[in-house]
Amino acid sequence: MWVPSLCFKGLPPGGNYVSMKAIKEKHSLAMRWCHWVNFPILTIMIWSGMLIYWANDEYSITIFGHTFFRFFPDWFYNTLQIPHRLSEGMAFHFLFMWFFTLNGILYILYTAISGEWRELVPKRNSFKEAWQVLLHDLHLRKAAPPQNKYNAAQRIAYTAIIIMGIGSVITGMAIYKPVQFYYLTWLCGGYHFARILHFVLTLGYVFFFVVHIVQVVLAGWGNFSSAISGFEVVNENPVPVIDTTNEDEKAG
């Protein structure tokens, strides 16, 4: 007797049962819009800011009289064609400051009203957890703490970057109109210090950017794709651990 392969026809086709793909909404359209609009605007703000900074490039990292780094070396200026463009830099900076600010206001309003801030702002245990996330990311710790949309380190970083954005607008106004907004200049520790803060915040963005890019690369395509499409593809097979987590989160 030969056993026809048809015998197996009645069996369920394997794939569908092993993993059932499902769409999981991740990033709202407003959030994606603000994120991607901000990227070129911030790039232009940093670039035009450097055109301005060049005209009085007095900052350096000096410890006990030894200068470790001067902002910026000549090769850096020349490569980016920065020298002698102060007026152009100011003109670009004072146009794109509007877009930067408006986009930021839009983002904050949306996050506040939609309730998405709950996914974003650090929780009481975030600072402790962020340490565990860091150890995990550095492969020093096996398990990452359970998370919802963002882990503790992300909550801290993404909230910090928003506060930094607000800081850039405030320090920017403090040096842009130090007489009309004298109270902001006072708040920023005076004109001179406000300019330093404005500069240091920009260094902060560059640092954030580098870490952000490394993390995005490590997180893989699915994560990156969700920042454009808004959703992630997940396997919907009931995994008890995830279920428990979800219910815990809901209960909490």
């Binding site: 769409i23 991607w36 007026s87 004072f94 146009l95 109109k177 007489v179 004298y182 005076g190």
Partner: protein, 262 residues
């Protein structure tokens, strides 16, 4: 390959939904990114304005500068004062950053100088330094701010511009929108909006650190206007004019904001 499926035909499968949403979002992203890039290229390559009262700036950027000025003009107030400091904090050596219009090689004798106030109908009011020094003196110690980014606390003395206007009964002129000031050799010139000129901290200064101005700081008379960047603080004022149109301005012709207000 069609697989017999019991689902209703119109309902998309999960895989179809995924690919459809991916397609739409990535296509939209690409289109918007390309649009943004084209927009940037358009702006970056946009031609410079034709030099008139202002010059050397990309046309759209000049428009933006002027619009931004109109916005921030709304928050300008004579009650907003620049921060002042104690005398002890004033710099002993006040920075000399530019000599346009006051070049040492061009002979100039402050003793023969007279301020020319150009009135309507060609009438010229001539004012000497002793005339000015007879008026109430105002001193200010404040943080002078340069468009380049540096600032320095410095101590100036002179006549409030608003006191000068009142004393010489130029009030009708002060109703006009702009003041123009030029060096005697007309090589450096500024245009100041009237609210800035009439601000209570704007001085026609003849002293720095309690001494008469040296030549490099604009002897015998210079403008000290704390509500503007240094580029507006004309040294060695030769003439003053009033108008409802913007007077010519040295740095506005070089791509800087005409108003440069602080």
């Amino acid at each position: 390959m069609k697989k017999p499926d019991k689902k209703i035909k119109k309902e998309l499968t999960i895989a179809q939904k995924i690919s459809r949403r991916n397609f739409i979002s990535f296509a939209a992203f690409t289109v918007l990114a390309a649009g943004a890039f084209e927009g940037w290229r358009w702006l970056y390559k946009s031609p410079d304005e034709i030099t008139g009262i202002t010059g050397e700036a990309h046309k759209p950027l000049r428009k933006a500068l002027n619009q931004t000025e109109l916005f921030f003009r709304k928050v300008f107030s004579n009650k907003h004062l620049v921060k002042t400091y104690p005398k002890s904090m004033a710099a002993r050596h006040v920075r000399v950053n530019s000599d346009i219009g006051v070049e040492a090689k061009n002979k100039f004798d402050p003793a023969t100088w007279k301020l020319q106030v150009i009135k309507t109908g060609g009438e010229v009011l001539q004012v000497t330094l002793p005339d000015l020094m007879a008026l109430p003196k105002t001193e200010i110690i404040y943080d002078f701010k340069c468009v380049e980014g540096w600032d320095q606390i410095s101590h100036w003395g002179g006549v409030k511009f608003s006191d000068f206007i009142r004393h010489y009964k130029l009030d009708d002129y002060a109703k006009m929108q702009y003041v123009g000031m030029e060096t005697p050799d007309k090589r450096y010139y500024v245009g100041i909006d009237m609210p800035g000129a009439m601000h209570p901290q704007t001085l026609l200064a003849y002293e720095v650190n309690d001494k008469l101005l040296p030549l490099e700081h604009g002897a015998p008379l210079r403008l000290i206007i704390p509500v503007k960047y240094g580029i507006k603080n004309l040294k060695r004022i030769g003439s003053i004019t009033f108008s409802n149109t913007r007077p010519r301005d040295y740095w506005a012709e070089e791509g800087y904001d005409y108003y440069s207000g602080l």
